[in-house]
């Protein structure tokens, strides 16, 4: 293969292809800002499909029903939390814009409501979230109404047990039952959610599955399945299965990497280039430099070196899993620009003694600092560069895991960062 050097110019370069990076690209697209998105896809494939805003306050055991009220409480509990500076109206607008985009592109979502939705986990535990994909919406509804329901699982699909869901929910949901069936054409051995999802894009497979479901449904009104309802047209496949079976159907997320996460990743990879975004996924940016009138990103893919000149950059590289932060035996650093990282004083303080300590671990509040315009702070305490902005969970002072707020922080801070970029570019 002949290597060719490629060069792009753009107004905005987004580094990072997780929820925050993709949300930033969507918001930029809607503002007609020309955009290039680069960087590892990170943890998108690990998402469940649920979009959380705030499900728990750090240190509390109880779940949050009304995230909007809880955000107000956050101001006292965690004064430096990145969501604090963002109005409820902006957060709602950000979620609306993000979910509307996904809906237009083929994965419909519920709109952000006034309270959290109680959603199901594959272990039969409950989880508070703000928006769910249309394919999962009937589950929380059926749970709330305690509708007669069968969780159907599959021979050969490990890590998802209908019996487990029922065992942990039957006290609250006595009409819930579990049944096991064979997936069409996958009679023996281990089977995988991704393969099942792609198989269901074929009509014959759906018809066969519908027959098997009807045979075990009993008096159920609603059927729960592991999340395997197609990769590219899940809403259509759900509707078709409902038509074929006569039952309402919903998905429950499976262990990551799960189909709903892969769906999002593949949707972004397909739609962004169609809409004019320069997308170079799966590659790590090797350098980022600034001069007076632009920023320069360098990276290399299978076809050779790439240079991108941008007027502004949003850093949305995530934490350890996505590579935005690196933990070393001696401390934590930011991997691309070596930005100062707010972190515990010593490694011994990273974690409490008990893993599930409800206070959450200090390492998960490590991250970079930003100013009011979402510009990262450099060594000298001033913004690192006027062209550099940041969004997502790389920001310090929030534990997205324990507060069930990963998508909320990603989407809301991306919204504000793009707003700041827009102001900067067009002021």
């Amino acid at each position: 293969m002949i290597e060719e050097a490629r060069y792009f110019e753009t107004e905005l370069a987004v580094i990072g292809s997780g929820i925050a990076g993709c949300a930033a690209s969507i918001f930029a697209l809607n503002k007609k800002i020309t955009t290039a998105q680069v960087g590892n896809t990170g943890a998108v494939a690990y998402t469940t499909g649920y979009l959380d805003l705030l499900g728990k306050l750090e240190g509390d055991k109880g779940a949050i029903d009304n995230p909007w009220d809880a955000i107000t409480a956050l101001k006292d509990r965690c004064p430096d939390h990145p969501l604090n500076g963002i109005s409820a109206a902006d957060i709602r607008a950000a979620f609306n814009e993000f979910t509307a985009f996904l809906g237009e592109c083929g994965i419909a979502y519920s709109s952000p409501g006034d309270s959290n939705i109680t959603a199901l986990s594959p272990a039969g535990t409950l989880k508070k979230t703000l928006c769910v994909p249309a394919t999962m919406a009937a589950g929380p509804k059926a749970f709330a109404a305690k509708t007669a329901c069968v969780i159907v699982d599959f021979k050969g699909l490990k890590g998802f047990s209908g019996k487990q869901v029922v065992a942990n929910l039957h006290k609250q949901w006595p009409t819930l039952k579990a049944e096991r069936i064979v997936f069409p054409e996958m009679l023996s051995g281990e089977i995988y959610p991704e393969v099942m999802a792609r198989a269901l894009e074929v009509e014959k497979t759906r018809e066969a599955l519908a027959e098997s479901i009807k045979a075990v449904a009993g008096n159920a009104k609603v059927i729960g399945l592991p999340a395997v309802l197609g990769m590219h047209n899940p809403d259509f496949i759900k509707t078709e299965l409902e038509r074929l079976t006569g039952f309402e159907i919903f998905e429950i997320p499976t262990m990551p990497p799960s189909v709903p996460g892969i769906r999002l990743r593949e949707l972004f990879e397909q739609v962004f280039p169609e809409k004019g975004i320069i997308l170079i996924p799966q590659q790590k940016v090797s350098s980022l430099t600034f001069d007076d009138d632009s920023a320069t990103l360098s990276l290399t893919d299978n076809h050779g070196p790439i240079t991108i000149k941008a007027k502004a950059v949003i850093l949305a590289t995530g934490r350890f899993l996505s590579g935005g932060l690196e933990a070393h035996i001696t401390g934590i650093n930011e991997s691309l620009l070596n930005l100062p990282v707010t972190q515990p004083a010593k490694r011994d303080d990273w974690y409490f003694e008990q893993y599930t300590d409800s206070r959450g671990h200090a390492i998960h509040k490590a991250g970079i600092e930003i100013d009011d315009s979402f510009r990262p702070i450099g060594e000298d305490g001033r913004p690192y560069h006027e062209r550099l902005f940041a969004a997502g969970i790389i920001l310090a002072h929030q534990d997205w895991i324990r507060s069930r707020s990963g998508a909320g922080i990603a989407i809301a801070t991306a919204y504000k960062a793009v707003e700041a970029v827009d102001n900067f570019l067009h002021a």
Binding site: K61, A167, F320
Partner: protein
């Protein structure tokens, strides 16, 4: 012959068990005594307040010493090791990997000490062969380029879990001897110079159990002094040394690698399956239970170890652990590593008891000999003249015990080639059938098997993900089998992850930090295990 463990209900719900010999402590020594006595026709009940190898037996390098480690300061111990090393290689090969061992000195180490090493080995009868630095680097490429001396000795590795499990399994198969975990001694009832009963508490149910026996053996390891005191014996004098070790993600060397200098911190690296174990530190402690690694101990091991193998400085580590080693007091002052590695068998006759003894001290390599000495005393006291057989009878392989062996699970899985038998622990390739076998057959008379107990009996959770994923999969499988029918499975998952975390907390950096972020997002963010109300 007295039938062991006859259940006698005595009114107030107190259980009484009866056996010929009660052995207290499920380390390798207790398990070895159980088998030794079984082969002499004596039935026993082995109890442990936790489970097999919960103490120092399960928390060490897994090193089967050639004796080379001790030649400079304890020729007697060196010779004991050499003899036992040969016996175990011959009679329990399924528990041993004959890796060979290297003793290496690097620039700055004491050359005078290094030069005396081969002579001291020869005095102890230990095979020793000098390798040039180039030869040593050829067999172990990760060794430091500053290597100046290297000797090869017949060190090997041994799986203490499998060893204990198979000793117990053999005793059980041989004469129905019984092992019972979670059973802690809280007192003894004595009459006319004899212990008549041990009073125990089941640590799971809090039920009280009385155990009647003719002979009582205290193989409590680090807890032996406390147990002896419960019987009024004040002649066991122990001090305690805490050691911390860490496990690398990769196998960093194929030989056991020892630093050629007087024993010190971080100077032994031992391969175990696909990983290596580095250690140890040594500090005095008063704390016997809940000892955990500290960041300072980890850093110390990594710094010292990287003098022999520089790659240890940047290696990925998946786990660290600490254990308490009992040291016999009065055997020597100064460094805890010196002159205190022998074992002691106390017959307690000076304490006015005729049917109680304590075995403590020693090391993994000499466990069989410790069991033999103890069993000789017990057998003599019982008038049994059969004599010790563990020097000649091979330790049988037991199928339910095979899953602790690194690399065994994938081998059996491939051989069976059953597409329905799904892999539940993907790091260590532990299939469903292994979990089934462990639940059905592995030695444990307990009514409830937890994920921790399953992990102890297999390699599940011992790979890079440290159980983050397989814990969920195994729990899901057990729900599926109907083994869990309520929240218990969630609580077991949480307990299992908390337990695994204790060993990870001090080594979470590099890729392990990414792994942990994902694990926590899964366990807490999605499954909500941090909000379960069981504590």
């Amino acid at each position: 012959m007295v039938s062991p463990c006859v259940l006698k209900s005595s009114g107030a719900g107190v259980q009484t068990l009866e056996t010929e010999v009660l052995i207290i402590g499920g380390g390798v020594t207790g398990a070895g005594i159980m088998r030794d006595l079984a082969l002499r026709g004596i039935q026993t009940l082995l109890v442990d307040k936790q489970d097999l190898c919960a103490g120092a037996s399960g928390g060490n390098h897994g090193l089967l010493h050639s004796g080379g480690r001790y030649v400079s300061n304890d020729q007697h111990a060196a010779i004991e090791c050499r003899i036992e090393n040969e016996i175990l290689k011959r009679l329990a090969p399924q528990c041993v990997e004959e890796t060979g061992g290297l003793f290496v000195a690097v620039k700055g180490d004491d050359m005078a000490f290094a030069d005396t090493f081969p002579g001291l080995c020869q005095t102890a009868g230990i095979q020793v062969e000098e390798l040039s630095p180039a030869e040593a680097l050829a067999v172990e490429p990760h060794l430091s380029k500053d290597l100046i001396k290297a000797y090869r000795v017949p060190d090997a590795t041994i799986d203490p879990f499998r060893l204990a499990l198979e000793n117990v399994a053999h005793a059980r198969a041989f004469n129905d001897s019984v092992y019972q975990p979670h059973t802690q001694i809280v007192g003894f009832i004595t009459k006319n110079g004899l212990i008549t009963e041990a009073v125990c508490r089941n640590n799971k149910t809090n039920a009280t159990i009385h155990i009647r026996a003719k002979q009582f053996v205290n193989a409590g390891g680090a807890w032996a002094m406390n147990i002896a005191q419960l019987a009024g014996c004040t002649d066991v004098h122990l001090s305690y040394s805490k050691g911390t070790l860490l496990i690398s993600h990769d196998r960093m060397a194929d030989h056991v690698v020892n630093r050629l200098r007087p024993p010190a911190d971080g100077d032994i690296l031992v391969p175990g399956g696909t990983v290596s174990v580095l250690g140890t530190t040594s500090i005095r402690t008063e704390e016997l239970d809940s000892v955990i690694p500290t960041v300072a101990e980890i850093d110390r091991n990594v710094i010292e170890g990287s003098a022999m193998i520089p790659a240890l400085a940047t290696a990925r580590y998946i786990r660290a652990f600490s254990r308490v080693r009992p040291l016999l007091q009065g055997a020597g002052a100064g460094d805890d590593r010196e002159a205190t590695r022998g074992f002691a068998l106390l017959n307690h006759t000076t304490q006015g008891l005729e049917n109680f003894c304590t075995i403590t001290g020693g090391k993994l390599t000499t466990f069989r000999q410790m069991a033999q000495k103890t069993s000789d005393l017990v057998a003599t006291r019982m008038g049994n003249t059969t004599g010790c057989q563990t020097k000649t009878i091979p330790l049988p392989k037991d199928d339910a015990c095979r899953w602790t062996e690194p690399g065994a699970a994938p081998r059996y899985w491939y051989k069976e080639n059953n597409p329905e038998d799904m892999i539940l622990c993907e790091c260590e390739m532990v299939p469903q059938s292994a979990i089934d076998e462990i639940i059905k057959c592995a030695p444990d008379t307990d009514e409830e098997m937890t994920l921790e107990a399953i992990a102890l009996r297999s390699r599940a959770g011992k790979g890079p993900c440290q159980g983050s994923f397989c814990g969920i999969r195994i729990a899901s499988y057990l729900y599926d089998c109907g083994y869990y029918q309520d929240e218990t499975g969630l609580i077991h998952m949480k307990d299992f992850f908390n337990e695994r975390f204790k060993g990870m907390r001090t080594v979470i950096w590099g890729q392990q930090a990414a792994q942990m972020e994902l694990a926590e997002a899964l366990h807490c963010g999605l499954l909500g295990l941090d909000t379960l109300d069981n504590d």
